[in-house]
Amino acid sequence: MSRDPRLAVREVSKTFGSVRALDAVSLDVRAGEVTCLLGDNGAGKTTLIKILSGVYGATDGEIRLDGASLQLSSPREALAQGITTVYQDLAIAPLMSVWRNFFLGSEPLKGRGPFRRLDPVRCESIAREELARLGVRIEDAHQPAGTLSGGERQSLAIARALHRGGRLLVLDEPTAALGVRQTKVLLRTILEVSQEDVGVILVTHNPHHAFPVGDHFVVLRRGQVIIDRAKDELSQEVLVQLMAGEDLAAGPGGPALSS
Amino acid sequence: MTLRPPALLWLLGLAACGSPGEQRDDVGAKDRGDTTARAETPRIVLVTHGQSADPFWSVVATGAREAGGELGIRVEYQAPGTFNMVEMSQLIEAVVASRPEGLAISIPDGDALAPAIRAAAAAGIPIVSINSGARVFRDLGLSAHIGQPERDAGFAAGRRMAEAGVTRALCVNHEVGNLALDSRCEGLEDGLREAGGSALVLAVDLADPEDAQQRVRGALAREPGIDGVLTLGPAGAVPALAAVAMLRASGGLDTPLELATFDLSMPVLEAIREGAMSFAVDQQPYLQGYLAVVLLHKAIQIGAVPDGVIRTGPAFVTGDNAAEVIRLVGRGVR
């Protein structure tokens, strides 16, 4: 490893009262790679995500972003640091146009003084181009974002994050409510994104969606990391088995499941 | 793209909505679309500050309409939904734009209505004022006012009360700030003071009759030596009657009390007939509507308008004539 990972999570724990949601979790996320975070409900994926997106603070442990220690006090700060978390429904205002959604909070202005204004024509074409770069083609970025399908909306949120210079992209169960065709669109977007200088964390409980796009797989159970393997150390069937909780039979790499 | 047919039809349906003729508040109407009839039948509009559903104003409207029927004039009645000078001013503006042959208005607030009235006069429409505005109609350029000079009416009521032995009266005002009503109380005070008595004003809000009743009870209990109560309208009379009855029943009031009111209504007249109330001051609203149309008729025809205040009151309804008046109220003409 010639340089710092984009995100370094070191021995991070989180307790809520007497419940230990995360227990000394460590993992690395590299830029240009898709790290899949897998596990069943209650495994601690959501908690880790919320810590990364600034909703919770960790009880113990350290997080470093590009080598610098990260202390987040709010989601807004997480965003300012370049960490974008894309949830399923909340990211896009359906009644606003695509370009308005794209530029929300970072609207480019032209002109001077009190007459500084938006440039809808330019904004529309930039938004459309950025979406096309991720494989989503739309006719007109003036149309309401609600006319986009679920997968396209998430792609819009991703495109927005990239445009703002995101460093880390966290996708929380992006395929959970999508149909087959939309899932394909989204996974293609994720593949495009992985070409950029961005670290991607894909949170999912579906190994069949994770395997085609992931470079690196981390499985959580009951707040602990039980599997941490690169793609070439796994196959899709093995991943499914591991997630189903079958004991590690023979197999190279990764920490053994502690009993 | 075609607009979905039902929606478009709906809108056109609204547009084609039946002639509003049936809904108009007038008599002797020809079809509005017939412009020749329009030119022949003069149109007089009354714009007042009280809704035509209000029993008092419905008598005014009846008087106006009956005069219209007798003289072959189309009469309309417009009023805002509540006592609202902004709305009334807008109504006057719209009525003036519709170019009536004559206009009769009440003037509860000369300041507020001045611009609208002056604009109406500038448009060349003959105008008379009715009911309120005896003090200001001249300043606004009008020559005739038909109504009851409020202060004088209050004075007369005060004198009558003094003659009945009242030394201190409560004036229950349900619209403080309405100049006409304020004047009534002032007149009452003058009338009593002349006989060595006094009066005080109690403000009530008739939107809540329960509350009004409590206020009257409270005032009667609180203030020393009140032996007369005057309310300024039938809507105020009812709570006052109830308050007095309740106090008498509970023993909170054992001294004689003269109860009187301005203007008529069935409960008021019953109370007078039974003796619970001594008298009512009647401004004869029928005449206000009727005479307004009569005057405007001649103003339209030959340009002649009398000068000054034509007094339609005070007329007094007492135990003597209550029965007769009740009969006429049943006909809607008093």
Binding site: P75, L79, G105, E139 | D111, G177
Partner: protein
Amino acid sequence: METEPAAARSPRARRLLARPELAAALGAAVLWIFFTIQAGEPFLSRAGTAAYLNAAAPLGILAVAVSLLMIGGEFDLSVGSIIGASGMSVMLLTTHFGWPLWPALAATVGLCLSIGYLNGIIVVRTGLPSFIVTLGMLFTVRGLTIAISRGLSGRTQLGGLDGSTGYESARFLFASSPLPPFRISVIWWIGLTVAATWALNRTRYGNWIFGSGGQAETARNLGVPVNRVKIGLFMGTAVAASLVGIIQAVQFNGADTLRGTLQEFWAITAVVIGGTLLKGGYGSAVGAALGALIFGLVRQGIVMIGVNADWFQVALGTLLIAAVLFNNQVRRLVEQRR
């Protein structure tokens, strides 16, 4: 690589039909035709046109500000009471305390801005629905207006503003008729509509308003100062109400404590007729202006054709439902393509 897709209907045309103001514009046109047919020449005359424009203007000023707030996702039920407070504030400061008119106007605007600020800060800090917060403010402001007026002057209606210094210049700015019989309030209305539309569609702040109404949490995370935006919008509705109160006090040479009653209700009606959604995030200031125009047309139109003014509420209610239904159908039609 981008190629321009050939659409069955041009996106521009579709966009035009999807505009929120469409229903209101058509409604206003239909009503105008209706009244022209029914009332004839008097309706078309200058006096007739002025009658409905002058009547629409105060509501229009209010509705434009309320539309921005509703697009931003909040309601303000206190604007009517602020109109009343504004008028009485001007009257009390001048006739009771003897202030010259312009300082009284400035203090009144300041007072109303504080009420708006209070509305905003309570809503963003407590997270309570603005419907409830401003409803409480409605009663508080109206009650205080009545109580303070009676307490200081013994009256609920005050007149004689023309006696104060500065009245002439104020009259010129707020109550004159530079092009008689059209009042200057119509110019205020049009000017504010233009400014609001420009702010909404062409500035960053406008995008923030849409975002705060459409998806506040996300907007906040993206760096939009949602709380500040909302507080600003509440102050906007308050200052608009203050302006209406001032215009009416100067025009009618006085004020009363009940002025402005129910105006919040009419304002919301006009805004909804104009295509703004109750849930926020979508709407138009021009639509609200058209909604106010419809209000004026109906109100004055039915008087001009001789119908009892009672029918005004029936007419407006019917129109409201028709406008919303029509708006809905068009929008669905436009989005159906997907």
